[in-house]
Amino acid sequence: MNTATAQGLQVMTAQDVAKMVMNNEELFILDVRNESDFNDWKIEGESIEIINIPYFDLLDGVDPALSKIPESKKVLVVCAKEGSSKFVGEQIVEAGRANVFYLQGGMKTWSEHLEPVKVGDLKAGGELYQFVRIGKGCLSYMIISNGEAAVIDTVRMTSVFDDFAKSHQAKIKHTMDTHLHADHISGGKQLADRVGATYWLPPKDAEEVTFLYNKLEEGQDITVGNTTVKIHPIYSPGHTIGSTSFIVDDRYLLTGDILFVESIGRPDLAGKAEDWVGDLRQTLYDRFAKLSMDLEVLPAHFGKVSELGEQGKVSARLGDLFKQNPGLQIHDEQEFRRTVTENLPPQPNAYQEIRQTNMGKMKPTEDEQQEMEIGPNRCAVHDK
């Protein structure tokens, strides 16, 4: 974080910022993107103060910004890629300010950063990790036991998982997706192909996929590390018709996009909200209600930074969610139907194209993939 350039403008990486968010360190952010991009999506954190002044309003000088920038805090200038943040940041330094940084790679890199957080140890040895994609709100998981690993809801930055498994002396044997994602491009198939693992997808979500996959079905347990860890799939439709949750080690419930910490999954992203409302309700109010209330819920997304707990971990006890999660308190069926089909937040950016890509029907370039994934995940009904 201390690589000063000749002008005194310093670099902050996405990892630096992620750590600051997770540790609640104070930071002042000047976001110089245009107003609509800023309003759509920005860096958030409990101890982050952020303002927006587009860089094109600062071309004649940064005076309009200086009076708004506190002298006592670290100042981070942020833009879409990084060019404009350097341009503005250098002028702020020239105006005599210290502790000025720009975000390396801008919001594009922020969107891709993954931070591994240990969830806990497994009974027969091994660990469960959550990978927090803090800029987009995606959560992936890795189960490691006895030299083997399984990755759940892999995002497209697959080398992170590859490297992490290697550094824990584990070989990735399985990758599975809880459902066909609409907000981000899955890396599950690509990672499985590269490391020689098996890729699993619920068959009801895979009717149109163009590649080979293993059918993820209830009752067919998957084991990691010579049967020491059991991954038990449970059919839990509603966000998609194939959505499947996992009970890992009889202790963790990986809910995919059905149940989040502060919300529930939206049923409309495949265009079938009306048809799937009943499934969603049955999964949440009937199937999940019969599970052990002591299970630790680990979702595939978070919508707000308030959902980040200790060390950035996103999780909650199932019993607590039945008491507190707004999506689990709607006892009237008609009211539930209205809540999950009307007044929903906007859809995730490029969600139709992302679904096509995850089916193998579209093959966008790396740049196009970055572009498609810009913005928040918006998979929950309360993500406004």
């Binding site: 245009n34 107003e35 991009d37 094109f56 060019g83 341009f87």
Partner: protein, 75 residues
Amino acid sequence: MQADKVIDAKGLACPMPIVKTKKAMDELGSGQILEVHATDKGAKNDLAAWAKSSGHELLEDREEDGALKFWIKKG
């Protein structure tokens, strides 16, 4: 559309397309039209927002020959 001036900002990343556009615009008179060619995808939202905040009018934009083209009328 007939432009009074054309600038080429192809291959340039933010903030340069707008820096060049602004410079060219400063040399035009009110009501004259500037045509801008760019390849940075971010230029689209940024030029529209910049034109609005600076009192110019974005008359048209379209993708042509692998470039984003904009026609902006000076306010």
